[in-house]
Symmetry: C2
Amino acid sequence: MTSLAHGAGPLIRKLERLIRLNDDERQALDQLPLRIATFEPGHEITRQGDRPQHCVAVLEGFCSVSKIVGEGGRSIVSFHIPGDIPDLQSLHVAEMDVSLTALTKTRVLLIQHEDARRLCAQSAAITHAFWRETLIAGAIAKEWVVNLGQRDALARVAHLFCETIARLEVVGLADDRRCHFPVTQEQLGEAMGLSTIHINRTLQELRSRGLISWERGDLEALRWEDLKAVGDFDPGYLSLAPDWVVLR
Amino acid sequence: MTSLAHGAGPLIRKLERLIRLNDDERQALDQLPLRIATFEPGHEITRQGDRPQHCVAVLEGFCSVSKIVGEGGRSIVSFHIPGDIPDLQSLHVAEMDVSLTALTKTRVLLIQHEDARRLCAQSAAITHAFWRETLIAGAIAKEWVVNLGQRDALARVAHLFCETIARLEVVGLADDRRCHFPVTQEQLGEAMGLSTIHINRTLQELRSRGLISWERGDLEALRWEDLKAVGDFDPGYLSLAPDWVVLR
DNA sequence: AAGGGTTTTTAACAAATGATAAGTTTGACC
DNA sequence: GGTCAAACTTATCATTTGTTAAAAACCCTT
């Protein structure tokens, strides 16, 4: 079925990483109506205050979740990669408390709320997989609280790079501690609570210590263990994935 | 039934705020084996790295959730109040990624995982209520990311006070923008990513502006609207509670 | 009521980060 | 290949916050 390869396939693979599915569940997922949408860089997929009738599963591209702050500012609260369902909470919360924005050209699978609810009603495993997906987001958010609250700029950025590489490795989008991570320094600043200028200083420092290379959105950890040490990175909090997924 | 008033009662009231329960569900909750535990201030209820077989519903007292950081430091990631189930994620994630600590003398209801799982299997509504509870924690964490990343010390502390009062009002533990909030300035610092000294400076400033009074753990917002403005506080993110709960 | 530990307060100085401004590179488009 | 806007870099100075040290207030126990 091409719909499996090109449609719900990534979603099924994602859920398989969260929980074991049986054939019925796989089939129910495969029979989801396929609505696929494409967004250009910078476009808002869902806006803070919206009351969407669907969730979004990222198939290709990178997104950010952000909140509006004070007068005209915005704060990036998380980055999302293929396989993520960044707005799953909208199943339970009518009004979006965040915006979802495409950072690159992004293909997403739209899952109507009613379809998702039917899936949950049919299968406790799928319910738990979805729940787990929201718990992963929560665990990452808690780690961001630590990162922003306790670590200086150098450690903070190092930690983000470690987290990003670790997450991308799980979905096969990073090899050898190398990945595409197409965010601008300004966006990095909005995410890390640092000015663009200070992000730049920090990147130079990471580069001059030989820890990373970072050009045109291509990120490489040159000395992984040292980068982890600088960023005080322990991937445990990402292990919300079940035991058979190994994180390093 | 005294067990309702003194045992699962607060839990039932909590879940009623998340979702509508029918009689069967109320009864199933009321028949939960009641294991109640008491913890003294400073004691760890659950430790990072534990693999608990139960969840904890706070009945009385205040707790913090914290993560160990770098060498010997710790970061408070959230505060919890009566009605909260701070470690519900342990249902899905074997190993605790955080510690749960009593800030005051605390009474908690222990819910065995097997009982919680049975409840979820029996009732989709209870599953959704639990899921929702974890989503609330996630929404608060995202707002903390914003708070730590984007706001200066004064706004940050003002925001925390607003959030705390708003949450305590929902469970009837704050009237008139006044509540008990028994944390030390050191703990406030661990939560807000600020040194104790700077917390102190910030509190003085909030006091001298006539925005709050704060003595011996008794907090009062003297000018609520102004405090909200200083803290850039918009309670929307707490509205994960259903529509019939009104937040101001 | 006295003592001792914890918590809060004050002060002076140091370090990290932000703001402003201006120059440089890059990449998309014509 | 030239032009323009966005992104990145560099420099300087201002501000916020951290650090250290010590004193004062508070609270619990005796």
